[in-house]
């Protein structure tokens, strides 16, 4: 008991509880005294019980509870009988579109009214009171501390922790691997990332027995040059099993048919690594759709300004300059997929991406052209 009530109030006397003359209030006050509580102020909310004002307040609170029940009933009724099944496009005239709002309004009103009732009861009908309680802040008393210390010392002594250092060391040596054993099963989660970040669905050796991989649309249709008009773009996928699904998250490619003038600018700007492999075909260019920042699809193609915008963090890439970043947090260009048109007139990737597409990681291999930029 380090701290004391330093308010101006004097400590109330303790009373004899066996005294039969004690009123209920006096017994109650003795309880407060034992909890170091003192009443500063206590008066009934209404000086005279049963006045008009009190009755009125009771009616208000009672009304709130009753209306709350009414709305709760309405909620249950609406839950059961209001038409709720979705039946295709509907306007606000169709009752089923009001199912959720009606449920929310009835349940909300019911809860709010009950809450208002309880709160009004507490604020307007409970006695006005102000009490002060001792806080007893700070640690335990010195006595308690001494006893606790002695107890712990005894425990150490009983176990002989000081006298048996070997046992302590052995226990620690045993416990350390045991702790490791406890977390070891989490190792089952580990998986060698292998080439998952560097090889994509366009890798002919891995996914198509070395045969060049054609481009396809989402529905599986193979892509011919006449399917993309000037100023147009389509999203294409490797024409392999599940090529257009989430199994190949780094494979989606944006195939763009540039205008003659734009294609000329791009050819002029082309990185040597793409120039060497002749990555363009005619005025067509294919860029990885996966942002090199954190991997959202960079598919906002602005055909007038020749930019690609990523909607997640607003990186912007210049389509006529190897899709190099020109704004935002991205630091690397969108890899170009080298491609050509095969004998049957379909677009085909001549190799996988030359640099890994998508977000960077610490041991990401890069080509010198990138590092210069």
């Amino acid at each position: 008991m380090s701290a004391h009530n330093d308010s101006a109030h004097t400590e109330p006397e303790s009373v004899d509880l066996s005294d039969p003359k004690l009123s209920r209030f006096e017994v109650y006050k003795e309880g407060l005294r034992r909890d170091d509580i003192e009443i500063i102020h206590y008066e009934p909310r209404f000086a005279k019980p049963g006045t008009k004002a009190e009755k009125r307040m009771e009616r208000i609170v009672g009304g709130m509870f009753l209306f709350s029940g009414l709305f709760a009933t309405a909620f249950v009724a609406a839950f059961i009988w209001w038409p709720w099944e979705y039946e295709g496009a509907a306007t606000w005239r169709d009752p089923q579109t009001w199912y959720t709002p009606v449920l929310g309004a009835t349940l909300g009103l019911s809860l709010l009214l009950f809450a208002a009732g309880v709160l009004t009861w507490a604020k307007k009908l409970l006695p006005i009171e102000e009490l002060v309680q001792d806080r007893h802040d700070g640690g335990s008393s010195t006595e308690d501390r001494r006893i606790a210390e002695a107890t712990v010392d005894g425990l150490v002594e009983d176990m002989g922790l000081r006298r048996r250092p070997f046992l302590v060391k052995a226990a620690l040596l045993g416990a350390a691997p045991l702790g490791l054993a406890a977390v070891a099963p989490l190792g089952a989660l580990l998986k060698d990332p292998g080439d998952m970040l560097t090889v994509t669905g366009w890798n002919a050796e891995k996914y198509n027995n070395g045969e060049p991989i054609r481009m396809m649309m989402r529905d599986g249709a193979l892509v011919r040059p006449d399917m993309v008009s000037v100023g147009g773009q389509i999203t294409v996928y490797p024409a392999i099993d599940h090529g257009a699904t989430n199994q190949f998250p780094t494979a989606p490619v944006l195939l763009i048919h540039l205008r003659e003038s734009d294609a000329a600018i791009l050819r002029e700007n082309l990185y040597p690594m793409y120039d060497e492999v002749d990555a363009l075909w005619g005025n067509f260019v294919a860029y990885s759709k996966i942002c090199t920042h954190v991997g959202c699809p960079t598919s906002l193609y602005e055909q007038q300004t020749q930019r690609l915008l990523c909607p997640c963090h607003q990186s912007q890439f210049n389509v006529v300059d190897n899709a190099a970043p020109i704004f935002g947090p991205a630091t690397r260009h969108l890899p170009m997929l080298p491609m050509t048109v095969d004998d049957e007139g379909f677009f085909v990737a001549t190799s996988d991406f030359l640099v890994p597409p998508g977000p960077a990681f610490w041991n990401r291999p890069s080509l010198p052209e990138e590092d210069e930029k």
Partner: protein, 268 residues
């Protein structure tokens, strides 16, 4: 930036005056005698130009020529060539009020159209006459009626949602440009926009999306944006997603509860 825009506006005013003057001349000199030589020069068959195209040219020479140049050849730095864009593009731009453009900016804003639909058709006929180009299917209504909404949804999400948003509310593009909201846009306008790729929008010609697929997308957009009432409540919060939802929890939820705390407990 501002200064150059002002200069350009001044330019436009003078050009407009010039164009109006030319227009007056045209009327005075009589339509046929003025236009026939140039039309004959381009098109040997005189009968090929119908009266609609002639009326279109009249409008073109008063309202479009200052940016798009003589015979739709375009003026470097002001307006692109219109040869080959076709009537669908013209009708889209004119009927949505994007053209004629009030001032050069990041993007032509959508406003009230300056021409009637009939006049837009005339203009379209004239541009079509200059160099052909994609045009609307005659049976769009039937196509949309028989469209597959589910298929349209998949196509919408692959091709359209990246700019116009999942909910069709539009979105920001780079440097002040934006993809407009699809709310209240008619079937024809949706089709025209896909077909012709106005402004920054890529072209989705019939090679990329067949007329049936375009109809599927139109059906989906109309279902999502215009036909179906949001089932989740009275307020859809502009369908902007988490940004307005976050605003709502503070402006509605937290505000209501903070006022309640003030009511429940005192201030001292």
């Amino acid at each position: 930036m501002a200064a150059s825009a002002k200069r350009r506006r001044g330019w436009r005013k003078r050009l407009g005056a010039l164009a109006r003057f030319t227009g007056a001349l045209v009327i005075v000199g009589g339509l046929y005698s003025v236009f026939s030589p140039s039309l004959y020069a381009q098109e040997p068959d005189a009968n090929a130009i119908d009266s609609e195209a002639v009326k279109g040219q009249e409008l073109y020479d008063t309202s479009c020529i200052s940016c798009h140049g003589d015979d739709g050849e375009g003026i470097e730095g002001r307006g692109p060539s219109l040869i080959g864009v076709g009537s669908a593009a013209v009708e889209f731009q004119v009927n949505t009020g994007r053209m004629p453009m009030a001032a050069q900016g990041a993007q032509a804003p959508e406003t009230y159209p300056s021409f009637t639909e009939e006049e837009a058709e005339w203009l379209g006929a004239y541009i079509e006459y200059l160099g052909g180009g994609p045009s609307m299917p005659d049976d769009l209504e039937a196509l949309v009626e028989h469209a597959d909404v589910g298929e349209g949804g998949e196509l919408y999400r692959v091709n359209c949602s990246s700019c116009h948003g999942y909910a069709g509310g539009g979105g920001a593009l780079s440097s002040g440009a934006h993809a407009p909201s699809l709310e209240g846009v008619s079937d024809e306008e949706l089709y025209q926009a896909m077909l012709t790729g106005p402004q920054n929008m890529p072209v989705f010609a019939d090679n990329e999306l067949t007329p049936e697929q375009k109809a599927d997308i139109i059906a989906y957009v109309q279902y999502l944006v215009n036909d179906d009432k949001d089932p989740g409540g009275v307020f859809a919060l502009g369908r902007y997603g988490p940004s307005t939802e976050g605003l709502a929890i503070f402006l509605v939820g937290m505000t209501a509860l903070l006022l309640t705390t003030l009511w429940i407990a005192g201030k001292s």
